[in-house]
Each structure stands twice: as C-alpha cells, then as structure tokens.
C-alpha cells in the first residue's frame, strides 16, 4: 500500500491528516508486516481519524465496529437471518426435510457484521475496531481469531479465511486494560498530544481563516493548560474548536476578555476553569 514512511506522511497529509513521525512509521510498518495496529491515547487526538485517513488514502472501504458494553458475537461477527430462514421453510412445503435443513444455513441467510464483512470479498478494506476497551472481555476472544489469522469460523459453514487482508486499526482510551493476548497480536502505537509545531500546523489546516500569530498563541496557551494538573486536559479537537470559536468571536489577538469568555470551549469542568484562570492571571470569573 505504501512505499516508504515519507510516502505515508505525504499521502496522509493530502487527506488532511498530519501525522507525527511516530504515527507515519507505525502505519508503514503495520502495512508492511501485515499486522493490526492498536492505537491508544487520550480522547480527541485523532485515533479514529487515522483509520479514516488510511482508508481514504488506500481507496479502501472503511468497515467500522463500534464497541460498547454488551456488544456480542451477533453484533460483531455475523447473524443468521431468522426471518428469511422461516420464509424459506414455509415457502417450500413439499420438499424433504434434508433439503430444507441444508438450505437454510447457506450464505444466502447469513447477515455479515463488521468483522465478517472485513474478511470477505476482494476489494481493499480498512477495519476500524473503535473503542475496543468499551467491549466486554469475551469480545476480545472473538477478535483474537480475526486478528491473528484473518479468519472467522461459522459453525454451519466452516472457516472463512480472508483472501485479501484488511488493514486493521483498533483504538482504545485505556479505560480497561486489554488482554496481553490481544496486545501481542498488534503493533502498538501511542498517540499523545502533538508537539507545538505539529499542533500549529494541524490548527492552521483545520481552521483556514486563522493567522499565524494567533495560531501560535492558541497552541501555546493550550500547551500551558496541558501542563496543569486538570481533570480533563484539552485535546487537539478542543484546540481546533477553540480556534474556530475565536474566529467566530472575531478576535484577531488573544486578550484577557476573549480568553475568559471562551475558556469553556477548552475545559469541561468548573474547577479546571478556575485553575486555568488562576494560571493565566485572568481576573476572577
């Protein structure tokens, strides 16, 4: 899919995803070694965006499995289309039992869910398993077979193996510790907050109307807030939101009033806002 690490960064940049060297290197390796990529990091640093960008670059279909508590086999792998099976049985009244039985467990009655979809078919695909940590431990068991051998076993049909391996991205906010077995099958990538320079570029790319000096001030303030001990530090998504807010407010430089009025875009807890205000020498809110 990619020829070199530089190729990865250049092509991702074309889609509007600015990758740090770590991200570009790891994506290149995941493609080259044919291994799934486990991406961890705080919310809002672009884990999901990465999968979308890779899909766009590769011209691949994005298959997404959104995990949540209680996601199970029938949501992740496949389901039998019971209604259609019943119709099939009642439609063929005069056939023998053997004919009917073998028929209703064929591919025609299979409803593929994301994992099976990603494995079947020949077109290029990116499989995004989003927020893996939200799923129950049992789901990890399902994932193991898919991730190590790119195959799915349907008892009535046998094993379905991928003819073309999908590019797999798993994301996690680390709200639950993923099992060692799952981690072992993946390349590991931690996306943290970008360095100042990269964040400036991201903000300017996403908010075209922002001039360079304001972008720099924005990034510096956000950087200082991240160094504080906050309940929820602002992420890149929030930096971008803030920059948009500033544009909407018509501010061309950062000033005390405008920062005070828009701090709520960056910080989501009242105690964080108070702490930040003290740090930034704002008058009491």
């Amino acid at each position: 899919m990619f020829t070199s690490v530089d190729d990865v960064s250049a092509r991702l940049a074309e889609t509007g995803y600015l990758a740090s060297p770590a991200v570009a290197t790891t994506v290149f390796l995941a493609d080259r070694l044919g291994k799934p990529l486990l991406v961890e990091g705080p919310a809002g640093v672009g884990k999901t965006e990465l999968a979308k960008a890779v899909a766009e670059v590769a011209g691949a279909r994005l298959v997404r499995l959104q995990c949540y508590e209680g996601v199970d086999e029938s949501r992740a792998l496949y389901e039998w289309n019971h209604a259609k099976q019943l119709l099939r049985i009642s439609a063929g009244r005069d056939e023998t039992w053997d004919e009917a039985r073998t028929d209703i467990f064929s591919e025609e009655f299979l409803l593929p869910r994301p994992l099976l979809t990603a494995i079947r078919g020949d077109e290029p695909k990116v499989l995004l398993i989003d927020e893996t940590d939200k799923a129950d431990v049992e789901v990890e068991g399902l994932l193991l077979e898919v991730l190590s051998d790119f195959q799915v076993t349907v008892p009535e049909l046998g094993t379905i193996t991928a003819t073309r391996r999908p590019f797999v991205v798993l994301t996690s906010n680390a709200s639950r510790e993923l099992s060692e077995a799952l981690r072992r099958r993946c390349l590991f990538l931690h996306i943290g907050f970008p360095d100042e320079e990269l964040e400036r570029r991201i903000v300017r790319l996403k908010v075209p109307g922002l001039d360079a000096a304001l972008a720099e001030s924005v990034v510096r303030v956000v950087g200082a807030l991240r160094a504080l001990d906050l309940r929820k530090v602002p992420s890149v998504a929030e930096t971008v939101d803030w920059a948009r807010t500033l544009i909407a407010l018509g501010a061309d430089t950062l000033g005390e009033t405008v920062v005070r009025d828009s701090l709520g875009v960056l910080l989501k807890h009242q105690e964080d806002i108070l702490k930040a205000a003290a740090k930034l020498d704002l008058d009491a809110l």
């Binding site: 790891t26 639950r176 981690r183 303030v221 309940r231 000033g255």
Partner: protein, 456 residues
C-alpha cells in the same frame, strides 16, 4: 552495525535488557522487531526508535523504560564529537551564551548538539583512563542551565516584540525547555558511561523502573506524584475485576425446592433450573494506616486507591495512626481533587501523635480496639498498612488478636522486603502469626494483592 549477525545480537541484547525491566517480550515480538528493522533501515534513528517501540511494546507506561534503553543500545553516535578532537578548550560562558540562544529559539536539534558538547566539555571526571567517567550532575552543576531563565526570557521578548497574551506563559515554557535539556544531558552522560562500562550493566542499573515497580519506601517526590496519577486507572481496572468476580459469585447454586416446584408445569421434568438467589451484601472495609514519615508514601497511595474503589463497598472507614489513632474517613471525601495534600491534611487535622512523634503499633492498635470497637463486625475486612516497626515498644498482640476475632478477615500489607521482617525493631513476625501478612512493595504488587484479597 551492518553485518546481519551483529544486528541480530544487538536486537536480542536490547530485548533482553527490556525484559530485565519487567517488559514482557516474546520471541514473536523480537522477530517482528527484526522485520521492522529490515523494512525501515538504519538511516533514520527516530524512525527506528518508533518502529521498535511499535513492535516490542504493548502499553504506554513502558515507553519511559524503553527510551533510555534504546539510547544505550542504538546510540546516536559513538565516542566523542569530532569538534572536540581539535583540542579547542571549552569555554563555559560561550556555551552558556549559545545555550541561551538555542533555548530562546526552541530548537531541539541544536539543544541536542549542545548537550553533547556540554557533557564532553564539563562532564568528564577522573584522570587515569581506568577510573574516569562522565557525570550529568557535574555537567549541569557547572553549566547551571536553570539560571538562564531571565536571559532566555529577554531573548524571546526581544525577538517577538512582546506584549502578547501568551507571553505570560513564557516562564513556564522556558522551564520546560530547560528541563528537556537536562534530560538530554543525562542521556548523553549515560550513553558515554555505557560505552565504557558495558551497556548491559548500565541498562540494568541506570534506567528508572516503570511507576508500578517503584518501591514505596524509596520513592522520591516525583515518583510518588507519578504513582498517584496511576491511582485512577488502577482503581478502574480493579473495579472491573471485582465486578466480574461478583457477577460470577452471584450465580450461585441450584435451588432444588424451587426447581422442582417449577417442574410441575412440565410434568415433573425439571426443564428450567432455578438458581438460589443471594442477598446482595456489599462488604465493609476498614483501613488502619501507619502515616508516620517512613511509610507515608505507601499509606497515602493505598488510601487513595481505596477511596477510588469506594463505590464497590457499602462502607469504608479509614483510620490513620502514628502512635495515636484517629478516624480520617471524612478527609477522604469522594472526588476530592487534591491527592497531593492528602498526607498533609491528615497530619494537620487528625490527632495522631501523643507524647512522642514515632510510630507505636501497640498503642495505636490498643486505642483502636478500645475506641472504635463498633467499626469492626462479622462483615468487615480489615487491612493494616505499615512496616510493623514499633520502635521497641510493646507490640500489644492481644489488641490485634481481638480485632481479628471480631472481623471477617484481617490482612496486613507490609511495604518492607520480606527478608527485613523481624530485623531491628520490626515486630512483623509476631504480628504475622496472628494475621495474614503480605509483602507489598510497589503498585504492581498492591494491585495483585487487592484483587486477590478484597472481599467479594
């Protein structure tokens, strides 16, 4: 580093060094790492670093061990920089000038080069080739980068014109840059020492352990702060495990009477087994924490952990003692945002010391049995946290025995190494005969113990 066999040796040595720091790396990962090296090549060191990290590591916390070890095994350069070979004497003021300029410009590559130069010029000690070495401490002591703050600030202000809102953050930013420079100097000194003494030994000794393996008793201030930050994730992990265990335990056994009565509708064939329903009883927890100076880091951490787990129990009561005991449950209000000040708050607001300031387990246990007897009942699990060093006073075994008889279980977590129990003034063996005592030296052990010992 071009012959394939040498790369292999280097790579396996690297993996072994990481393993010795508790990072679990299997053969599969090493093979992947080799494939990554083949795909990336050696041209770009940072790419190599990221590639190896992606293949060898499995979690975020391991990175802080990985990076220094990587620097040792895949050094940026070997030996001293070429410029120094010219024999030019190092000028401290000149270097400080250039450092100030680099800090003002915030140029990491240049700072890296200056760090090398600094160690080279000021870090060497000893005179004979056999006994000399390189010291980051000495380098930083002579260079004093922290005193450059004002100069760097002026430099930046002069460059930007000043007056911008974000400039009120400048001091902090410069401090962070200086801190990063100090880390670069440390890495460079470590690399040079490693070259001389063999990198296996340095990799083993000079790299700080991951936070969950830091010994409670020897943790520094920064490490304790780091440890406190691990409380929330650890608590969440433990809560998930406890909930899973509770779910399993709640399934219980078959209720024969109700199964048979249910089978009447199916002609006496028990189609649907009925499980005996348990009354959901949330266990109660009592914590007795020694908060005297020597073990306070351990107690603080454990208290925070229990506080974070608080909704898993119907009732948690925490008592702190040095030689008098007092209840501090109210100080551990759920959601209090200031874990740092916890120890100070406890010491300020609770009566913990009587006539002297050193810990006395006998007195404290006796007072607990006397004043807070009602806190312990048949549903209570008691945790005693402390090193059992009772400063030669009476250990008061009957008091602990009394608590043990009233409680459901009593566990003692001791932050000292097992081999130290019973030495000097430690009454650990005596106490261990009455209650179950466990060695609990770091966050990893604590996590394991808590999952194993906490009541369902």
């Amino acid at each position: 580093m071009t012959a394939p066999s040498e790369i292999t040796t280097r790579l396996t040595g690297f993996a072994a060094a990481l393993r010795s720091h508790g990072i679990r790396i299997g053969t599969g990962e090493t093979v992947d790492a080799a494939r990554a090296v083949a795909a990336l090549g050696f041209a770009d060191r940072e790419r190599l670093r990221e590639g190896l990290a992606a293949t060898l590591l499995h979690g975020t916390g391991q990175r802080q061990v990985f990076d220094p070890v990587f620097d040792l095994y895949f050094p940026q350069r070997v030996g001293a920089p070429a410029a120094e070979r010219e024999g030019e004497p190092q000028d401290r003021d000149d270097l400080r000038d250039r450092l100030a300029a680099a800090l003002a410009a915030n140029d990491p590559a240049l700072l890296g080069r200056l760090a090398v130069e600094a160690v080279d010029g000021f870090g060497g000690y000893g005179s004979s080739p056999g006994s000399d070495g390189w010291s980051s401490y000495q380098t930083l002591d002579r260079l004093r980068p922290q005193t450059l703050l004002a100069r760097v600030r002026d430099g930046v202000r002069a460059g930007s014109g000043g007056g911008a809102f974000a400039d009120r953050l400048l001091d902090d930013e410069i401090r962070r840059r200086i801190e990063a420079f100090r880390a670069m100097v440390a890495a460079e000194a470590r690399r040079r020492v490693a070259e001389r003494r063999g990198r296996e030994e340095i990799a083993r000794r000079a790299v700080a352990p991951t936070a969950d393996r830091v010994d409670f008793l020897f943790a520094g201030k920064a490490q304790l702060a780091e440890l406190r930050r691990t409380v929330q994730p650890l608590a969440r992990k433990l809560a998930t495990r406890l909930a899973a265990r509770r779910r399993r335990a709640a399934r219980g056994s078959i209720d024969l009477r109700r199964t048979l009565r249910g089978s009447l509708s199916t002609g006496g064939v028990p189609m649907r087994p009925v499980l005996r329903r348990r009354r959901p009883v949330r266990p109660e927890l009592v914590l007795l924490c020694d908060v005297s100076g020597s073990v306070s880091g351990f107690s603080d951490f454990t208290m925070l952990l229990v506080q974070a787990l608080h909704d898993q129990f119907s009732k948690v009561r925490v008592f702190a003692f040095v030689n008098r005991i007092d209840e501090v449950t109210r100080l551990l209000v759920h959601g209090a945002a200031d874990p740092e000040g916890l120890g100070a708050r406890i010491r300020a607001e609770a009566t913990l010391t009587g006539w002297h300031g050193s810990s006395d387990y006998g007195l404290a246990l006796g007072e607990f049995a006397e004043r807070y007897d009602e806190a312990v009942g048949p549903r209570t699990t008691v945790f005693v946290l402390g090193d059992a060093r009772t400063n030669m006073s009476d250990p008061n075994l009957p008091a602990l025995r009394h608590i043990g008889e009233r409680a459901r279980r009593v566990y003692w977590l001791n932050p000292e190494q097992r081999s130290q129990w019973g030495t000097g003034d430690s009454a650990a063996p005596e106490y261990a005969e009455l209650v179950e005592m466990h060695e609990c030296r770091n966050a990893r052990q604590l996590g394991e113990l808590v999952t194993r010992l906490l009541p369902v």
